[in-house]
Amino acid sequence: MSTFEIVKWYSEGKSCQLYSIHIFDKRTDEASLFFEKYGATDHPKRSYTNQLLLLIIKSIANKYGASDDFFDRHENYIHALPPKPKKYITEISLLGSSFPLRIYCMRITNEILILFNGGEKTAPSTQGSKDLSMKFYEALSFANQIKDALNASIIEVDHSKKELKHFQTNYKIEL
């Protein structure tokens, strides 16, 4: 059984506030663990990690918000970034179908996004990618707890400030 809390990850965005999950026995939050791992200087997927970070920080947090355009890979309450390539402009394939990384997240509103961990897509399906599959089920467990907390008004959305209220509550989860 692990205990986690929601933490602010990037609150300087003009269009969207980013949060993450911190499991108490881990050194840092889940989104930072993802970017530390895949953004390491010697990691072969580093350039993809940079593209994903630009998408999250520049496009979502600072420009467009968590709009529908970015969220077309979803299952239950979980979304995976980056989005699918847009078929009308596939030649601009920066974030194309062969993009090897996925980071999971939960979109609360267009202005509030919670980032989880992610991994490398090594097979056509998420289930076939061993590491990614595990991260997906973890993200789903986090999302279910957060959804319940939102439904029970333990966590609330402050629509005027476009942020979460009372989010630093501890949750217990079996991973």
């Binding site: 990850w9 990037y10 593209q51 630009l54 601009i92 920066l94």
Partner: protein, 118 residues
């Protein structure tokens, strides 16, 4: 509040890549927005472009290079601007290629990265 890893990674991304990312995302979202707003499907797009549906299919499947000419054609059939080039007078000296780490903060990078409005 900002996770330290964000700046750590952003500082090592070349400004050129940031500019490309901005242009790319603006273009993707702009074209999608127009297609959705005008409710244009594949068949209709083929008619508008005066091409055979098979040609457009090939085009939509990414077997065609997206050139400025193509963007102009799309802009013409949509009757909507896709790219707008800033007419702002350039007063500063042109800056040499720099890494983001040479800027003091993200705003400077953003200002550099947004001379062209889409």
């Amino acid at each position: 509040m900002k996770s330290p890893i964000i700046d750590q990674l952003l500082q090592n991304i070349p400004v050129e890549q940031m500019v490309f990312h901005d242009l790319y995302m603006d273009l993707v979202l702009r074209i999608n927005q127009i297609l959705q707003d005008k409710q244009i499907g594949k068949k209709e797009l083929a008619e508008l472009l005066g091409k055979k549906p098979s040609e457009v299919s090939k085009w939509l499947n990414g077997q065609h290079n997206f050139t400025l000419k193509t963007i102009a054609k799309l802009s013409a059939v949509f009757n909507e601007p896709i790219i707008e080039v800033s007419k702002k007078k350039i007063t500063k000296k042109i800056q040499p290629f720099q890494h983001a780490s040479t800027y003091n903060n993200l705003d400077q990078v953003r200002n550099f990265a947004e001379p062209t409005k889409l």
